[in-house]
Assembly symmetry: C2
Homo-oligomer: 463 residues x 2
């Protein structure tokens, strides 16, 4: 019998905990190391996080490890964007067909569910308060500092780096020869605020992702299980910097997001705004994701992205699923699986990073334009006519597992198709206009009908 392989999962966030489940199912002896303490035993979790929107890819990954139902029962479906115009008008724009939705889920709760699920699997041990100090990726060696102070040395068959956007494992990869890497900060930062329940009920329509698009900046809101909403304000840092006092905050919100002020509450708004500084948003791309047959990175460690497509977690979860599919295909041979994972996954991760950056403009600006609304309708119409051939971009990203890089290529082709259709429509309109003009002229010159007139012309020429 083959010796059981060991894996050290570095990071006990969403992707790390999910990988612990997957790798246990594949027969690995799993040790998961997390620098912070066990969030299941913490009263308050420090640090903020953008709300999570679970969609198809994430659900598929949860399903394969048998956790979809458990997670979904605590989620809140969001069927459409709800646009809050400056004058208070509300406009819903559906995400897809009437039965398609993304789901607001609680990050902490989801992380706890995954950790508990991992812990219940065979051969999984969770080690909290273990901070990575050094590692040798080629040799599979890691050393951690325990909270108590003792150092722990580990040698393992596989290092699974799931330690987030500022990954320590990736920092070791960046130093290696011919490793491609980029980190890009956008000019916008984000800040979280809260809309509490009003009279024990949700203060706004529940099944929507609320958006206040103001072109240069925007605010969004996602519903929580406790009937509150978490608001996130995205704005350039230099605009945040200009708001210095409670009065500045009130003036800004009354002018730009007037309908939100009574929902948040004046006092709460003034207080929360200055509690924590706005946080930066980074997009990270790199390749390859592996070192020989010994180490691999996934999730934000491999591809942190701006949060505007709601795909950060979904892509991270899909990483686990794709890795598992490749393990299946290549018979668990890590010397083949790791390079294959890099080849297969990096173009897709690069693509969703780009799409997220693109949606950053769409969410705060394009949704305000009539062209955007018309385009959404044209897309829905074409999708209804040719459901397999024409699939709207948002649908491909959020409601399918079409590879992200294929999504981009397909979307480009579809754009050409739509442009041509619109041109054809305009040409028809022009012909129609020409026809009307011709009728007018024929009446003026006392010619009975336009066809008579054309026949006359043709006769003259051909005779």
């Amino acid at each position: 019998m083959e010796k059981q392989k060991s894996v050290a999962v570095v990071g006990g966030g969403l992707v790390g905990a999910m990988n612990a489940c997957y790798l246990s199912s594949r027969g690995f002896k799993v040790d998961l190391y997390e620098a912070r303490q066990d969030i299941r035993t913490m009263e308050i979790v420090r640090g903020r996080s953008i709300n999570l929107a679970l969609s198809c890819r994430g659900r598929q990954a949860l399903k394969k490890v048998g956790l979809e139902d458990q997670v979904v029962k605590d989620g809140i479906p969001m069927y459409a964007r709800m646009i809050h115009d400056l004058n208070g008008t509300l406009r819903p724009i559906p995400y897809g067909k009437s039965d398609q939705y993304i789901m607001s889920v609680d990050r902490r709760k989801l992380n706890e569910t995954l950790l508990t699920a991992a812990e219940e699997r065979p051969d999984v041990t969770l080690h909290f308060q273990h901070k990575l100090i050094s590692c040798d990726l080629e040799k599979g060696k890691l050393s951690f500092k325990m909270n108590g102070g003792a150092d722990v040395e580990v040698t393992t068959d596989l290092i699974m780096g799931n330690d987030g956007a500022y990954s320590a494992i990736r920092k070791h990869m960046v130093k290696r020869p011919r490793f491609n890497y980029s980190q890009e900060y956008i000019p916008h930062g984000y800040m979280e605020l809260t809309v509490p329940p009003h009279n024990g009920e949700f203060a706004m329509a529940i099944n929507y992702l609320h958006i206040w698009p103001r072109n240069e900046y925007m605010m969004i809101a996602l519903p929580n299980q406790d009937k509150s909403f978490t608001l996130t304000l995205f704005m350039p840092f230099d605009m945040f910097d200009q708001i210095k006092t409670g009065d500045d905050v009130m003036r800004f919100f009354m002018e730009k997001f007037p309908d939100s002020v009574p929902l948040i509450g004046e006092e709460s708004l003034k207080e929360t705004y200055f509690k924590l500084p706005p946080l930066p948003l980074v997009s990270v791309k790199c390749s390859p994701y592996h070192v020989s047959d010994k180490a691999v990175i996934m999730g934000d460690a491999a591809h942190a992205m701006v949060p505007f497509y709601g795909q950060g977690m979904n892509c991270g979860f899909e990483d686990c699923l794709v890795f598992d599919e490749i393990m299946e295909e290549l018979g668990n041979d890590l010397s083949k699986v790791l390079p294959e994972f890099s080849v297969v996954r990096s173009p897709d991760a690069h693509a969703i990073c780009d799409l997220a950056m693109y949606n950053y403009i769409e969410m705060r600006e394009s949704v305000n334009s009539r062209w955007f609304l018309m385009r959404k309708k044209v897309d829905a119409c074409l999708h209804a006519i040719m459901p397999r051939v024409f699939i709207p971009l948002y649908t491909m990203v959020s409601f399918s597992r079409i590879r992200y890089h294929v999504v981009i290529n397909k979307a480009k082709k579809q754009d050409v198709l739509v442009d041509n259709s619109i041109q054809a429509l305009m040409a028809l309109t022009a012909v129609g206009g020409g026809y009307l003009a011709a009728v007018a002229i024929s009446r003026h010159f006392n010619i009975n009908s336009i066809t008579d007139w054309i026949h006359n012309m043709a006769d003259q020429i051909l005779k």
Copy 2:
């Protein structure tokens, strides 16, 4: 009187040595720290370097510190590319007008000239064999390990990071919040070979940059003062890997670069090929280039680029010149100069990194196409007609100080102009063709002339 300001220049390569000259002229007390020993006292300089092609920007920067004449007198002008086709045909393609040239210069000699010039300036001290161990960019603190073993602690008004593509100063910047950074390795590596003098003379035409473009890979050669040529072979790493024996080398060169084999010499070729492994080529972009009023990076530390536009050194030298121009403009106020340098210079450096990547394809592939040759002629023709309005891309990059990012925008507009001109030409050709066809038809139908025929037609319609 104002207290004299101090600067620690980290790196004694081309850009560091030039900055020592510039900053001395601006009244700084300059200490330059270089990790390696003084190249002026070394017999053989380890490590290889791609040949240098000095052009307008580099010369302007040298000129302002009074070193242009001294450097240029040892250079060899190159007026054109000399294309070596597979069948041995030689085809020159000029770089610009008949009096425009780029200049092959010896990296070591140039570095020595700059170090000696720096040393002769007031208040400049060179410290060799000082390796940077740690630094605090915000506080202007550096510590170096001397070769002997003692540590040197330095506190300075300005840290000038000129320590190359793998810059230690930049590594400290990458860790700072909201610092944008990317490193991209191309699939190609490079290897240097030599064509020695033949019978005491240059073995090939001297005043050219020789190119063997083979689409997927290429070889180039630049003339040296000692009548040798330095050859550089650029090829994907996996192609390098496939050549394993002396016989493989000979087979490859005889098949792909047959005319170069007698020039290099069989024995020398086989020996040199395996002496050192091919080296990687990296493109580095980042921003900003400064930390408060205390630290700034320039040259490869700020923007390493692939070598295909011959602008790495020229851009680095221009950095020094631009910095000096901003110092002049803003009265040496570092708290204003450093942010301004980042704002002004990073879009230009990003642009030339992109252009260099673009030329990577042009040099090995496009030069083989008839379209490319026609385009070069069209460009030269348009430039002759409108010398200020239309300037060929290569001319803007190599023979002007037009800002690199402006070069890209201007080149794009010019491309549209050329495309439209060519379309107009084709339309004229089509009209001409149509005319000929009409004449043929009119003869066939016994109509005397085409104008008669058109007039006949018109009469029929209008009557």
